[in-house]
Amino acid sequence: MSDPTTRAPATDAPALGESPPVAPVAPGQLSGALIVARFSLRESLRRRVFVVVGLLTLVFLTLYGLATWQAFKAADDFSGPTEAGVDPDTVVGATLAGLAMFAILFLGTILAVFLTLGAVRGDAERGLLQPLLARPLPRRTLLLGRWLGATAVCAPYVMLIALGAFGLTYVLGGWWPDHVVEPLLALALAVAIIAAMSLAGSIVLAATANGIAVFMLFGAGLTAGLLGQIAEAIGSGSLDDIARVATWALPFEALYQLGLAELTADTVGFTRLAIDLGPFGGAQTGGLGLWLWSLAYLVAVGAAAVAAFGRRDL
């Protein structure tokens, strides 16, 4: 090392151990969170997360495009609405768009989980967290920053890919969803909730255990959604109640259902019936209440995470 006693300090730098020219002013809650979020985003860029995700997404959209092209080609056997009044293009388009939403939610979940699963305990065990938290960076700010960083990646991702899938459906089959904004926002909020759940889990669970736990919850949500569809098909009120409670307990699933329902919200008649009988039909829409509940759920998960992190020794 250089001899510190003979080295001349830089002109505008604070001399070692002396007060800097302008006294340091610790960042506020929001700016601190933005610093952490920006650093997280830079990490995603530098680790080529976006390159890998982009390439795989291209593969997904290519497969989706091929499937869409083939499906509409098959539907062309019908020349317009059938005698029963079912529009095959709408049924095919809505089914494909439903399939796309399911796949995109899954991809968004993978992204959200892998960006957050070791954010607290994992980073603490590796010694990454302590240097940051020794700074004037409150723990809640760190959590907020990590969540913002993950959500800033996942939410635009699912919205863009969903828009891309809808565009492919339109270009290749001429079908466009009745509503687009609500499904996109529902997907975005769903992955934001999953990112928050994963972040909260990372406080108490090791990375692997946390990843498994979040994916099992994701699976439980999907199962609840499936139960709801079965309940709709067999007309079971109790099963429907169970499914509804379960999906609201895991609101990312309820949001996905809402998005599905909005795809064909204005479709009526036998075409509506045909869609409801399909694999992505019979979706429950929660309305404004679901949006409010989801936001409240997000805040509650965040508050629980902050409380748990505050009690944790590092």
Partner: protein, 294 residues
């Protein structure tokens, strides 16, 4: 002027394991203070409480008059953990930039360059952490701790990965910091290093301070050895002022005296004595403390 670090009746329990059992310490501004103790003695726990990373069970810690863990306390300290890592993807310059943002330092590029040069990393500001040796990462850790010109530095084994030249340079750096009025709490196993650089030391064992004072105060007379034609003769109870008399008596008795050595115990002797006589935790407890902290 408040003490840089003030620890009062500090206790910490991890479940049934008592990591700290009522520690009191005062570290005035500008003092270099060494913290010694065996593994699991509670040194790192004390430092982590001072950094706000671990919650105390009882007692209080203040940094420059502000409660440990508060934003005001965080703003006054720099910390280098014993087991730390920096993101392997980011460069030295980016890492220091992040810490500048977090501390609100206005030093900018000049401060980053200054600190990197200080730890002999000025030639590799754009090198990724993952491409650095352990020693380079430790030096980067020191630079990181100095971002924002902290008033108190908490260094937990800062030279463990450095070669002798690197350790010497860190000692010089610490002495310069002291001259500037920066207080340093140095947690180290290297007794010779602590003895050379620290104004005062405290020896912790089993979560308690079992000895404290200036290194010279902790040393004790170790007798006088006289090399004669008949061999080395030891006078265990003798002190420095007894040496002339002993030599005179030996010469008067007809012995040839070739050399006289006045012995005193080293800090290591004082350390071993303090650790050996103090009540320590059962052998399996230190590991449990380390694990529980994570």
């Amino acid at each position: 002027m408040p003490n840089a670090l003030s620890v009062t009746g500090l206790r910490k329990a991890y479940g049934s394991v008592q990591a700290l059992r009522g520690v009191d310490l005062e570290l005035p501004q500008g003092e270099l203070f060494g913290l010694l103790g065996p593994n699991g003695a509670g040194k790192s726990t004390l430092v982590k409480i001072a950094c706000g990373l671990v919650r105390p069970s009882a007692g209080a810690v203040q940094i420059c008059g502000s409660p440990a863990g508060s934003p005001a306390a965080h703003a006054q300290l720099g910390y280098l953990a014993e087991l730390f890592r920096f993101p392997d993807w980011c460069t030295a310059d980016e890492l220091l930039g992040l810490h500048q943002e977090l501390t609100g330092s206005q030093g900018g590029l000049a401060e980053r360059r200054e600190l990197l040069e200080l730890v002999e990393l000025g030639h590799v500001p754009e090198r990724r952490v993952g491409a650095m040796s352990k020693g380079m990462q430790q030096r980067l850790g020191l630079a990181q701790a100095l971002v924002g010109a902290p008033r108190l530095l908490l260094l937990d084994e800062p030279t463990s990965a450095l070669d002798p030249a690197g350790r010497h340079a860190v000692r010089s750096l610490l002495e310069r910091l002291r001259e500037r009025g920066v207080s340093v709490l140095l947690n180290s196993h290297l007794l010779s290093e602590v003895e050379l650089v620290c104004d005062r030391v405290a020896i912790i064992n089993g979560g308690e301070v079992v000895a404290a004072g200036a290194p010279a105060q902790l040393s004790r007379p170790g007798g006088v050895e006289v090399e004669t034609a008949a061999g080395v003769r030891s006078f265990a109870a003798a002190k420095r002022e007894d040496a002339p008399r002993i030599v005179r008596e030996l010469v008067a008795a007809g012995d040839d005296v070739f050399a006289v050595r006045v012995l005193s115990s080293t800090l290591e002797d004082a350390y071993l004595e303090a650790v050996g006589r103090a009540p320590g935790p059962p052998p399996d407890e230190p590991a449990a403390v380390g694990e529980a902290a994570l």
